[in-house]
């Protein structure tokens, strides 16, 4: 169920975010340029797989989290909320995978 999915993706993201943060801290040294990013990511299969997985995990984790927040803090609940969040999840999935594809090198 939703709780299990969110916690499972949380474990995945704990690892992925640690890697991502370390990468960010390393990569921004002395400023960031597209060339720097793209030389590392172009044709890099390991990168694409890692970030692809990252995107999928986020697309599951974030909407479930938002669902809790909205149900707790607003009066919105029920089917319309679930539909809206599914749309958000798909948006994250599509935009995210598109971004991975874009930096992998189209």
């Amino acid at each position: 169920m939703l709780f299990a999915a969110q916690r499972a993706t949380a474990f995945v993201l704990a690892f992925a975010v640690a890697v991502h943060l370390a990468t960010i801290l390393y990569a921004v040294r002395g400023g960031l340029t597209a060339a720097e990013i793209l030389t590392r990511t172009h044709g890099n299969v390991a990168f694409a797989l890692f970030y692809g997985l990252f995107v999928v995990a986020v697309a599951v984790h974030a909407p479930i989290g938002l669902r809790n927040v909205l149900r707790d803090w607003t009066a919105w609940r029920g089917r319309s909320l679930d539909v809206a969040l599914t749309v958000f999840s798909l948006a994250l999935l599509v935009l995210g995978l598109r971004a991975v594809f874009a930096v992998y090198g189209a």
Partner: protein
């Protein structure tokens, strides 16, 4: 009227939530930004130039902090829920915030 005092667990959970909301708003924008590379490296560079403005640089720093915050506080929740971590002191929360501060500081230092 009938307020229970804000407790440290509530502070942790609320910071966790707010950072999560910030990240959820930020992510679609992040994906759109990266996808500008579809139009070539120059397109991405043009976008990155925007991020050098002070206000944007600050927001960038803030979102990195939000990410670190959300992760460390999330690890606290996972520890209590799945590893039977008996956290009753301020120690765990302080550790989380210290780690986040370290990340925030490192980011600023590296950017410069």
């Amino acid at each position: 009227m009938r307020a229970s005092h804000v407790q440290r667990g509530f502070v942790a959970a609320t910071l966790h939530r707010l950072s999560g909301i910030a990240l959820a708003i930020f992510l679609p924008l992040h994906f759109l930004a990266l996808a500008t590379a579809l139009n070539g490296a120059n397109a991405l560079d043009t976008f990155l130039a925007i991020t050098r403005q002070p206000i944007v640089a600050f927001l960038e720093w803030a979102i990195v902090v939000a990410l670190a915050l959300h992760m460390t506080l999330g690890l606290r929740v996972l520890a209590v829920e799945f590893f039977d971590f008996r956290e009753r002191t301020l120690a765990a929360l302080s550790l989380c915030l210290a780690a986040v501060a370290a990340v925030g500081l490192l980011f600023v230092l590296n950017l410069g």
